[in-house]
Homo-oligomer: 162 residues x 5
């Protein structure tokens, strides 16, 4: 009984952007609802550089136990710099809160066309949602996969072939 | 009544520079006044690397609920490095205050001539001012636009075409 | 007696990833068990950018005296950027806790084939595990090796030849 | 009377280096003395990477209201990296103290010969000293110049020509 | 008498690495002993990325008044990135402690052969040790050299020739 009460109490924050060209937030929420009984808080911001403080606010003001930071950086050099800045801020936000923030970024130049990019964004978001559930509820499953060359969105690299 | 009192109480900080070649601060203030009843605090500094502490002072000393950090980085490599440093500082300032700072940077090499650059600077500033209003007063409008490929200053990319 | 009690009380944190293609965590734990009587805490996360907060949680929540942060960055430019971001976060985590976190990263392009990469990952992990033991229990052994051109995983460069 | 007392009480910190090839500190102090009744504290350090903590100590230990960080980065790639690191540290120091630190860097490759470089260093230092005075005593003058394309050391770019 | 007591009480921290191919720590300690009556604390770590927390621990746990961070980054791109990360961490450690940490890095590609590299490492370490003594005991000597183009390890650039 205590265990179930614990699961119900867990809260996942979803930080996403209007810049993204795919609704990664909706995909994450759908995957969460299908697989676990979490409470969900969502905070949508304009772009990826707004995600670090959005995630920190979800943790500190809206009491999330973990946050997913979802974004789609563009393909130009300035976009890559923005993604780098956002990533550094997300790491810093985690260190300030002792809370995991799972960054799910899909770069616009990772796929050949819009259709494949949407599929990649959906798959990566959903597979990282599974990681979020494991981090919160089943950390031993991650330990079992240590060193197994897991990838999110594309095929696993797998362990080194000896 | 409580709602209106709340709107009146909101305060927006404007941090801008003398380095910029367009008065982005004036555009932001004009757009704010046309669309909402916010109080406004302005702090003009020499260059974009002065913006992070300017924004933090607007938040902590002048009690702003959100800040717009407005700047126009030049076109040379050293200017790009300055913009990168300023962006990292702005993210850090947000994390230290749990307050959004909306960065509005217009790079001098983003347009072909002075006239187009001024138009871009005006449009981007005004469209980000709309984001600021939404973040403060109507966050559900941002959520509705999640994944819609919104851009500020140029045409929206729109959602991926499937 | 006090000395032995002290050794028994020491706790080493192992932070590793499911992204890695070699179980560096298992290698570190094996090497620790063969060489010292440490208590071990393990926290496996998806990727290297999750390591900084994982290490900080091991230190602050699970009371580790030192942490090993184990990862295998990929070979593409974005992977190199991720490794850079993770490294900066690991340094920051150390400064926030006054605790050493020994980063053991093996880049996928450091070896010609899977077999050599696995051997490198194993050797580097084990040799850094020896450093961890020295940092905790025998710091004078490190001082004796100061300036000796030590390398982990490959042959020592040795001191400059005069 | 209160106003004058206030002006007298203001203290400006000068952080400069022995690495620089021009005495920017002396230029700043001369310009300050000619234009305002400020108290001055000086802290000279070896190189630009020593400036962030020097500035923070001037603020926190010697009670400066603002600091000028003066340096002359060299022309090689490693020098550029040092300047980048120093700039990030200066921004961080400002955020930790809520105090402006005006960075005045003159890169050795900004001028064709020693004479022009010295003139540039002198002019930029003095023009930024004017900014320091405005930030402390006449912030409305900076606001009036918002978006006017001001430059320090070289000719103003001016506002965009429409 | 008070003055002498003060000098005796000063403590210098030496943070160095086993990765370096020259015993910079020994050179610094020798130079310190020849020139001043400081107490010395040494903490040797594996590599330069371990130096920031080593320096902070020397300051906070072993009460050093200043620290020298000594390292020899390798010549490859990844080594340069490591040096950059270490430098950023050292600046951050200084800001967190309001204490100078003098970074003395000698890059492996700064000299043509082992002999010249060793000489450079020795000279730079000793000349920076002189800076450390000045920072602690004779800050006015540094101020006298402001803008004089001082270099450590190689010939001084000297002031600009007008």
């Amino acid at each position: 009984m205590i265990c179930i009460a614990h699961i119900v109490a867990m809260k996942v924050g979803i930080a996403d952007t209007t810049f993204a060209r795919f609704d990664m937030g909706a995909a994450a929420i759908d995957e969460l609802k299908k697989n676990a009984s979490m409470r969900i808080e969502r905070h949508t911001v304009p772009g990826i550089k707004d995600l670090p403080v959005a995630a920190k606010k979800l943790i500190e003001e809206r009491k999330c136990d973990i946050v997913m930071a979802l974004g789609m950086p563009g393909a130009t050099p300035i976009d890559k710099t923005c993604a780098h800045e956002a990533s550094l801020g997300l790491i810093q936000a985690q260190l300030m809160t002792n809370t995991h923030i799972i960054e799910v970024f899909v770069h616009e130049d990772e796929a050949k066309d819009d259709k494949m990019l949407a599929e990649l964004a959906g798959r990566r978001t959903r597979e990282h949602t599974q990681n979020v559930i494991k981090l919160l509820l089943k950390p031993k499953l991650l330990e079992k996969d240590a060193g197994m060359g897991k990838r999110q969105g594309s095929e696993d690299a797998g362990p080194l072939r000896l």
